[in-house]
Amino acid sequence: MTASEVQLDDSVGETVVNVTCTVNGKSVGFSVPPQRTLMDALRYDLRLTGTKTCCAEGECGACTVFVDGVAVNSCLILAAEAEGHDILTIEGLGEGEPGGLCDLQESFLEAGAVQCGFCIPGQVMSAEYLLRSNADPSVEEIREAMSGNLCRCAGYERIVAAIRITAQKRANR
């Protein structure tokens, strides 16, 4: 059927979107207006406030989550787009680990990379994504890969160190 032959109802599309997806390994459902972002659905509809709202326009990375294993800015994804997909948030990263934190999160603490803490969930998600695709990144590679995550407290040195420490830990496992 060509586009000119398609018969549409008067107005296609939904004004309320029912979404079913997997978040941190669990199937969840929520009903949202179309313009709600994934970031806001995670925080308000699912009460997972580890993902932070900061610039809300894809510049700072505080809202970084994984969708199907890929790091993305959840402020630039509609909740509706999550239908059928697999979301991992900062809460899910350390799940099942002793102390509730994974090795990367422990490294951030050990390296003193956390000051106010607000950027940290996004930093950790982006760092985890980097290490999953590059197990031994150089400092330059780390800085390049992490350049979408801004920190206003510190000079990034300890975040870079935390990532290097984790790469070493994982190589020694």
């Binding site: 059927m1 000119s4 894809g58």
Partner: protein, 293 residues
């Protein structure tokens, strides 16, 4: 506002055409959602094409060139060994768009379809002689990317229509290309000015120029010249950059932008020329040290 997730290209185009001024295509969302947040656009209908089953595949390699579909992301391009080998300037540009998280969603086709003269991937695509196919209720039509751009954020794709594929022809043997971009910050930023240069085996140069005019501009192809002669390089640059009309804006003043354009053009030309002789086409550090396929 309504959200619609069609299963076919025909349904998508019919939905867009029913509300041509106020419907919007949603692919990566990295430009659209920002515009919605700032209320620069207030769509009545979002058509999410990611579930369209008959969409053109993201990346299809053929002997004569590569076809990109609407869901090909910047990250897809950067990771693809043939795209890296044939179109170094395009991959360099794609690798500079936003951040990793942005690149994992941002659509190559949408970067051009938005029609911003500062779009990073447009100068390489224009210099590489890319073309696009626009689909509407009346059928399909193809245009070179250079003529696709009409003005700032205005293209040949009208409301109710959709760019369904982009074709980039395989470059001539022993030619190469490079991309240079000036930004205020080293991290996430938009281009102050940018240049993509294609240099062929005879040292004829074609350039694509970004953020120095109302659209992405094409310079050349110019006559072959001796790249090692500073005098001939300056004359060639005069000709290749003639169409540029750099302005003063929030990112740079006019004299600086004009000077940087010339500097970047020279760098891009010389780097592209150097890559012609390198059999392995090792890619520069801007791609984080990953080279080869």
């Amino acid at each position: 506002m309504r959200y619609y997730r069609p299963a076919t290209t025909a349904e998508a185009i019919a939905a867009l055409a029913a509300e041509p001024r106020t419907s919007r295509i949603l692919v990566g969302g990295t430009d659209l959602l920002v515009a919605m947040r700032h209320q620069k656009v207030e769509p009545t209908l979002l058509v999410d094409i990611k579930s369209v089953q008959d969409l053109v595949e993201p990346i299809t390699v053929e002997d004569e060139g590569i076809t990109f579909g609407p869901t090909a992301t910047m990250s897809d391009l950067v990771a693809h060994s043939v795209v890296r080998q044939w179109f170094p300037s395009l991959v360099e540009a794609a690798a500079l768009v936003g951040s990793v998280a942005i690149r994992n969603r941002a659509s190559l086709i949408a970067n051009s379809a938005n029609g911003s003269p500062a779009a990073d991937t447009s100068p390489p695509l224009v210099a590489l002689n890319a073309s696009v196919t626009i689909s509407s209720v009346n059928g399909e039509r193809a245009h070179s990317l250079r003529e696709f751009f009409l003005g700032s954020r205005r293209t040949l794709c009208c409301g109710g229509e959709m760019v369904t594929s982009m074709w980039v022809p395989r470059p001539a043997p022993r030619s190469s290309s490079a991309f240079e971009r000036m930004t205020r910050r080293r991290g996430v930023d938009l281009a102050t000015c940018s240049v993509a240069a294609v240099v062929d085996v005879d040292s004829a140069v074609t350039v694509g120029l970004g953020a120095v005019g109302p659209t992405t501009l094409l310079g050349g192809p110019g006559a072959s010249f001796d790249l090692s002669s500073p005098e001939q390089m300056e004359r060639a640059l005069d000709a290749l950059l003639a169409a540029a009309t750099p302005i003063e804006d929030i990112r740079a003043g006019k004299p600086y932008r004009t000077a940087m354009l010339r500097l970047l053009a020279k760098r891009a030309i010389l780097r592209a020329a150097e890559q012609r002789t390198d059999e392995n086409l090792a890619l520069p550090d801007v791609l984080g040290g990953r080279s080869g396929g």
